[in-house]
């Protein structure tokens, strides 16, 4: 479907298609060419992936070590929060700390980016030394966010073990970093962007592919 045709569809039809799920709709900032968005995973599939991830983590929990679940903003934070809530309910015998990392000041592309979106505070108000840390991110591609997050963790202390959990692994690694736990592997062309949407941050759930034209 060409861009002109898409434009001709009109907002009402676009909205209707989007609501129907799996359809096409336009998004993006004014003045830029709107990327085409395609749904890759439904809300149920996201839930199944999260269940898978959670169970894999549970099988590998350490004994006699302080446990911390730390999410990378924004959606890694939400996922980490869900994991912590479930863990606290299922395993009241464990003490589980919860933290959030903002990698904004640690990115390796800072000198290439134009403009500065807001970087929020990192929230790790517990001792990381000798802890078992589960680092949580939403979609893993290049591995660069994880590299930055590891650097943040090491500025806060010296965890005994850091494990990495990602809900979606979309391939395309540029650094020698691998996740220990993966909810779902998906295959996405390099030039496209896979985006996870979660109820808490986006009002809906699913994994979408944004194809940049």
């Amino acid at each position: 479907m060409g861009r002109a045709e898409l434009k001709a569809l009109g907002l009402a039809i676009v909205a209707e298609k989007a609501l129907a799920g799996g359809g096409l709709h336009l998004t993006g900032r004014a003045g830029t060419i709107p990327p085409v968005m395609k749904q890759l995973l439904t809300s149920d599939q996201v839930q199944a992936a999260l269940d898978e991830l959670y169970e894999a983590v549970c099988r590998q929990l350490p004994v006699n070590m302080p446990i911390a679940v730390i999410g990378i903003r924004t959606r890694g934070e939400t996922l980490a929060q869900r994991i912590v809530e479930r863990l606290r309910a299922d395993r009241p015998d464990l003490a589980v700390d919860f933290g959030v990392i903002d990698i904004g000041f640690y990115r390796d592309d800072l000198s290439r980016r134009r403009g500065a979106p807001l970087v929020r505070a990192t929230e790790i108000d517990f001792d990381l030394d000798d802890a078992w840390v589960l680092l949580v991110d939403d979609v893993m591609q290049t591995g660069r966010s994880v590299r930055a997050a590891l650097q943040v963790l090491h500025d806060f202390g010296r965890p005994k073990i850091i494990r990495l959990a990602v809900l979606i692994d979309r391939g395309g690694r540029e650094l020698p970093i691998a996740a220990d736990f993966v909810g779902q592997h998906v295959d996405v062309p390099d030039e496209s962007r896979a985006q996870l949407k979660l109820t808490e941050t986006d009002g809906q759930e699913g994994v979408y592919i944004l194809k940049k034209e």
């Binding site: 998004t27 993006g28 900032r29 890759l40 995973l41 599939q45 199944a48 898978e52 903002d102 904004g104 000041f105 640690y106 990115r107 592309d109 800072l110 000198s111 290439r112 980016r113 134009r114 403009g115 500065a116 979106p117 807001l118 970087v119 929020r120 505070a121 990192t122 929230e123 290049t142 650097q151 500025d155 806060f156 202390g157 391939g171 395309g172 779902q184 592997h185 998906v186 295959d187 996405v188 062309p189 390099d190 030039e191 496209s192 962007r193 994994v207 592919i209 940049k212």
Partner: protein
């Protein structure tokens, strides 16, 4: 459960490399629109800072001011860590150009730069090329030519920072220019107000003292008004220009009249070094009328916030009892200044591409 959700084949490595080369070309030719970034774009609607310089609060929007304050909030957290450093400006050089003396602002910028992992070089007017007759622009150009990325400029002439910003490709931060503006001081004042009183809009702020010579007053009035606070400037007629009402503030010549109605009192320093002629009959009379004493503090709202940009003339504009008392946030201002300057350095560096 199926592990493969989509079936698009991965590109060969050569194709990826060709793509990378194309991106590089696009960046090198640099059209007027932003070069495509490999990093995910900011969420639509999210505010993004795009300024190369920080000259004054006059040209900033309320959104931009709030963005600086929020960024400083994140840097405040960095200062509470055992390792108080982030790599945000690693490899960058910050030049501190102090044509006018300053100790705390300079130290604050120096420390802010080092917490961002930047290197600093210092230039002071004393015993330097300025004494040999070099112009401000030539001095700045020479320092920029050494590969400095950000220049922090303090100058006795209003407009010095603005002039340099227009002529140099490096980022300029105004650290005080004449009687014009001192944006980082006002930002740290507003940050401290927001921190202590949890809001800025709707507050009434008194700025007391030498309004005529004060860049701190001007920047504070501009910033506070933009964020929805009311400002009353207080001082003897010789130190309060009538035209200051054009900035949207009220004037009072009696501190006693405003005490009961304000949420914040910002006591400016009497700047003896700036007086050309005697602008009030005696120091004793001035502190009698405009000094903040324990007795005056009793007539204020109980949670009134007492501020001072420093250095304090104890016993002149503020008594020790008040400066060191529970309503004072003078040292908190200094602490917050560091976070504000980290935010300023980080933001202008990201805005200059």
């Amino acid at each position: 459960m199926a592990k493969k959700a989509s079936t698009s084949s991965r590109k060969s490595e050569t194709a990826t490399r060709a793509g990378a080369a194309r991106r590089k070309t696009a960046r090198a030719t640099k059209a007027d629109k932003p070069a495509p970034s490999a990093a995910p774009a900011a969420d639509a609607g999210e505010f993004v800072w795009r300024r190369k310089d920080l000259i004054g609060l006059d040209e900033l929007s309320a959104d931009e001011i709030v963005h600086i304050l929020d960024t400083a909030e994140s840097f405040k957290e960095v200062s509470t860590r055992s390792i108080k450093k982030v790599p945000a400006l690693r490899g960058k050089v910050v030049g501190l150009l102090f044509f006018e003396d300053s100790t705390r602002t300079r130290m604050s910028f120096e420390l802010a730069a080092s917490r961002l992992s930047a290197d600093t070089v210092l230039f002071t007017a004393k015993g330097s090329s300025v004494a040999k007759g070099e112009t401000t622009l030539d001095t700045a150009r020479n320092i920029a030519a050494m590969g400095v990325d950000i220049l922090v400029v303090r100058h006795s002439q209003s407009g010095a920072a603005h002039m340099l910003a227009g002529k140099l490709p490096v980022s300029i931060i105004n650290a005080g220019d004449g009687a014009h503006e001192h944006p980082t001081q006002a930002l740290l004042d507003i940050f401290t107000i927001r921190q202590r009183l949890a809001r800025v809009a709707g507050l009434k702020v008194a700025i007391v003292g030498d309004i005529a010579h004060s860049r701190v007053a001007r920047s504070n009035i501009l910033g506070l008004k933009k964020l929805g606070a009311d400002v009353v400037v207080v001082g003897p007629p010789t130190l309060v220009p009538g035209a200051i009402t054009a900035m949207g503030c009220e004037i009072s010549h009696s501190l006693d009249d405003v005490l009961g109605e304000v949420d914040v009192i910002n006591m400016l320093r009497i700047q003896f070094e700036r007086f050309q002629a005697s602008q009030f009959p005696s120091l004793r009379e001035y502190s009698g009328l405009f000094g903040l004493t324990g007795e005056r503090l009793k007539r204020c709202k109980p949670d009134v916030l007492v501020m001072h940009p420093g250095p304090i003339n104890r016993g002149v504009e503020i008594t020790s009892e008040v400066a060191d008392g529970p309503n004072s946030c003078i040292l908190q201002q200094v602490t917050n200044g560091l976070a504000i300057r980290m935010a300023a350095l980080y933001l202008v560096s990201q805005g200059n591409k």
